[in-house]
């Protein structure tokens, strides 16, 4: 159990970074949103993005003010800010969770936001030569994601329980 004072909460459409040992980054209740988690095990720098929508082209003005809303503007922000704290791209372990269809029936999910979020993320990582180490995406469950900055361990909590990513 992590004490509340050690929790650094990443809100919806938000990105946070830390290199404080003992701290845990957390983002709650991912539905179709995705949490991209990056961690440099040498510098012990971690970052987490909670992005809601795949493409900033639908609202460039919003992306300018709140880049973390969108995958295509939030992901570069997450990486570039982590470099300022000492993370190195070649050392970063990159994992993703979320992208669910919380309506229950993926067939009826007309906009397929979760799937498109994951697709955009993979394309961005691919074009920037970043391998994805692990993913826990799709499905219909809400996920809460924790990143332990001391160990780099990522835990995912769902209504069915908790597991490591």
């Amino acid at each position: 159990m992590v004490s509340a004072t050690k929790l650094l909460v990443v809100g919806m459409a938000d990105a946070k970074h830390s290199r404080e040992p003992g701290q845990t980054l957390v983002t709650y209740a991912l539905g179709s949103c995705i949490a991209l988690v990056i961690y440099d095990p040498v510098a012990k720098v971690g970052g987490m993005l909670h992005a809601m929508l795949p493409q900033s082209s639908i609202d460039p003005a919003k992306a300018e003010v709140h880049p973390a809303v969108f995958v295509d503007t939030g992901v570069p922000l997450l990486f570039l800010e982590s470099y300022k704290l000492g993370a190195k791209k070649e050392r970063l372990v990159v994992k993703v969770a979320g992208g669910a269809c919380t309506h229950g029936d993926p067939e009826k999910d007309m906009f397929q936001i979760g799937k498109r979020n994951v697709l955009m993320l993979k394309k961005l990582l691919w074009t920037n030569n970043v391998p994805l180490a692990a993913s826990d995406v799709a499905g219909t469950e809400s996920r809460t994601v924790f990143l332990d900055l001391e160990t780099g361990r990522i835990r995912i909590r769902t209504p069915r329980g908790e597991h490591e990513l």
């Binding site: 795949p54 493409q55 900033s56 082209s57 295509d72 503007t73 992901v75 570069p76 997450l78 990486f79 570039l80 791209k89 799937k115 498109r116 994951v118 697709l119 955009m120 993979k122 394309k123 961005l124 691919w126 074009t127 920037n128 030569n129 970043v130 391998p131 994805l132 995406v137 799709a138 499905g139």
Partner: protein, 142 residues
């Protein structure tokens, strides 16, 4: 960035031709995984990171259309880029494949045809709107 590709065809000669075309079409290749039918392809997809699957239609055990159905039904593979490469002449079947998010390339094809299909799929060029709708990538490099 290197592209990991799976080539699915029951003919080893055709797999070799597709691989040769890939090497000539100007795409930076990563790992190339081969499978002789749909069943083998699904097994390898479960254990390999594949960015693009090039699949034949007429194969034993599980044909290309059945394979595509499995790919689109599995949450882990549903976003996979797929190009069907075949002599298939039935427009009905081709439309059905395209409706499942696959592009179609008719045999015989040139490395340029293949390269153009892949670049369109990746959003590097604009195609005719058929097949997969590529998401344009914006934002700064990182």
């Amino acid at each position: 960035m290197k592209l990991n590709v799976m080539v699915v065809d029951d003919s080893a000669v055709m797999r070799a031709m597709v691989k040769k075309s890939l090497s000539l079409c100007g795409i930076e290749l990563g790992e190339v995984v081969e499978a002789a039918n749909g069943v083998e392809a699904l097994e390898k997809l479960a254990s390999s990171w594949v960015d693009l699957a090039l699949i034949d239609v007429n194969m034993p055990k599980m044909n290309g259309e059945e394979l595509l159905n499995h790919i689109r039904e599995d949450e882990a593979t549903v976003p996979l880029n797929v190009i069907v490469i075949s002599t298939e002449g039935s427009e009905t079947r081709i439309s059905r494949l395209k409706s499942k998010g696959a592009r179609f390339l008719r045999k015989p094809f040139s490395p340029e045809n293949l390269g153009n299909q892949i670049r369109e799929m990746l959003g590097e060029t604009h195609g005719d709107g058929s097949g997969n709708q590529a998401l344009p990538v914006s934002g700064p490099d990182f």
